[in-house]
C-alpha cells in the first residue's frame, strides 16, 4: 500500500467539508475521484500534499506521515507531485527552467544533471523541442504537459491531478490525457479529480465517488458505472451522460 488516509476531517469555518475520509491506494493504481462541486474532492486531493490543512486524521504516503496541524511538509511533498487546473507554470522561466527549478533548488542536483532530467521529462510529454519556449508561447495543452514534466522531474511516488483538463479547449484535452494514459501504463500511481468519465472508466483502476464530504461509493470504475449501488451515484452518472 502506497497511500493511506485515515479518518480525515476538515472544516472551512462552520462548513464540515471532509467528514471522515478513509482511503487506501496501492502502488501503480490509477484512481479517479468524482463528485459534484462542493463534495470535497478537490479539498481531499489538496490535503494529500499539504495545500490544505486538515483538522483530524492521518495521511501516509510511502511511509511519510502527515498529521493534522503539521507544518513541515517538505518530506511528504518530495513524494507527492501535483498538477493543477490552471497549469501554474512560472511565467518568467522557460519550459526547461520550469522543470529544472525544483531539482536544482530543492534537491541541490547539479545544473547539468538537472538539464538532462528536464530534457528527458519534456521528451516524455512530447515537448522535447520546447525546452527554450516560455509559457506564454505555448498552448494550454502544451503548458499543462510542461506542468506534468515539472512534477515528474522530482520523481514523485504519486501524482495528483486536480481537474487538469478542465481549463483546456476541447481539442487540447486529448493530448494531455494521452500523456496521463502513458504514465499510467508505465506504472505511475495517479490520483485524479476529473470530469472525464470516459477516461476514468478506460484508464482507472479505482473510482471514488464523493458525496457531501464522504466517500459515498468506491470500486472498480467498470463495476461502478455499470451498476451504481447508491441513488446518488446513479443520479450523478445520469446527470453527466
Amino acid at each position: 500500500m502506497l497511500l493511506r488516509i485515515d479518518g480525515l476531517h476538515k472544516h472551512f469555518g462552520a462548513n464540515h467539508v471532509l467528514k471522515g475520509i478513509d482511503l487506501r491506494i496501492d502502488e501503480g493504481q490509477v484512481v479517479a475521484i468524482i463528485g459534484r462541486s462542493g463534495s470535497g474532492k478537490s479539498t481531499l486531493l489538496r490535503s494529500i500534499n499539504g495545500l490544505e490543512t486538515f483538522d483530524d486524521g492521518l495521511i501516509e504516503v510511502d511511509g511519510e506521515r502527515l498529521y493534522a496541524g503539521q507544518t513541515d511538509l517538505r518530506a511528504l511533498r518530495q513524494k507527492v507531485g501535483m498538477v493543477f487546473q490552471q497549469f501554474n507554470l512560472f511565467p518568467h522561466l522557460s519550459a526547461g527552467q520550469n522543470v529544472m527549478l525544483a531539482p536544482q533548488v530543492v534537491k541541490k542536483t547539479p545544473v547539468a544533471e538537472c538539464e538532462t532530467i528536464a530534457r528527458a521529462m519534456l521528451a516524455k510529454v512530447g515537448l522535447a523541442e520546447k525546452f527554450d519556449a516560455y509559457p506564454d508561447q505555448l498552448s494550454g495543452g502544451q503548458q499543462q504537459r510542461v506542468a506534468i514534466a515539472r512534477a515528474l522531474a522530482m520523481q514523485p511516488k504519486v501524482l495528483l491531478c486536480d481537474e487538469i483538463t478542465s481549463a483546456l479547449d476541447p481539442e487540447l484535452v486529448n493530448e494531455v490525457l494521452a500523456v496521463v494514459k502513458q504514465l499510467a501504463s508505465e506504472g505511475m500511481t495517479l490520483i485524479m479529480v476529473t470530469h472525464e468519465m470516459r477516461f476514468a472508466r478506460e484508464v482507472g483502476d479505482k473510482l471514488v465517488f464523493m458525496y457531501q464530504g464522504r466517500v459515498h461509493e468506491s470500486g472498480h470504475p467498470k463495476d461502478l458505472f455499470a451498476s451504481p449501488q447508491t441513488p446518488e451515484l446513479q443520479n450523478f452518472i445520469g446527470a453527466i451522460n
Partner: protein
Amino acid sequence: MAYSFDFTAVAQYHTQLAVGVGYTLMLTALGAVLGVTLGTLGAVVRAWRIRPFAQLFGLYVELIRNTPFIVQLFFIFFGLPALGLRLGEWQAAIIAVVINLGAYSTEIIRAGIQAIPRGQIEAAGSLAMTRTQIFRHVVLQPALQKVWPALSSQIVIVMLGTSVCSQIAAEELTFAANFIQSRNFRAFETYIVVALIYLALSVGVRALLNQIGQRFVVKRRPA
C-alpha cells in the same frame, strides 16, 4: 518691463552646480539602492504577515507616508541630537532618503508580490520548495517586473525631493542654486538653469531605470 537675461552670471558658478549635481545623484543612487532593499524586506514581511515585523513595518509605512519629508529630515538632523545622536548633514540626508523611499517602496513592492497568482506559489510549494526558495525563485522577479514602472517613478520623486536636503546645508543641487543666487542676485536665471538641470536629471534617471528594468527585471533568464 524689459528684463535683460544674464546667464553668464550663472555659468561662472558651474563648479558649484556640478558639485550639486554630483551630490544629488549620489544621494539618489544610494537612497534608491538602500531604500528599495529596505522596501523589499518590508514588502516580504508585510505580504507574508511575518510577526511581529509585519506590524512594525505597517506602523513605519504609515508614519512615513503621512508626514512631510522635510519634517522627517529635520527630526533626524535637529531632533535626534537631543538623544545624543548627532549626525552630519550627509548622514542625515541619506538616512532620511532611505527611510522615506523604504516606506513607499514597501507598499509598491508588496502590491507586486500580492499580484503573483496564488497558484504559482502553490505549485512551487507542491514541488517541496521552502518559503524562502519560493520567494527567491518564483515571486521576486515577476513581482518587481509588475511594479518596476511605479518603483521608477517613486525613485524620481525621491530624487526631486532631495532638494529639501538643502535646508540642512547638504550641498546638493538646490543648495548650490540658493548659494549662487545669493551671490549673483540673479535668482530668475539661476532657478531657470537649475530647473532645467533637474528636468534633465529626471529624464536621464528614468531612462537609466528603464534600461535596468529591461536588462535585469523584465529580461528572461538565458537558458
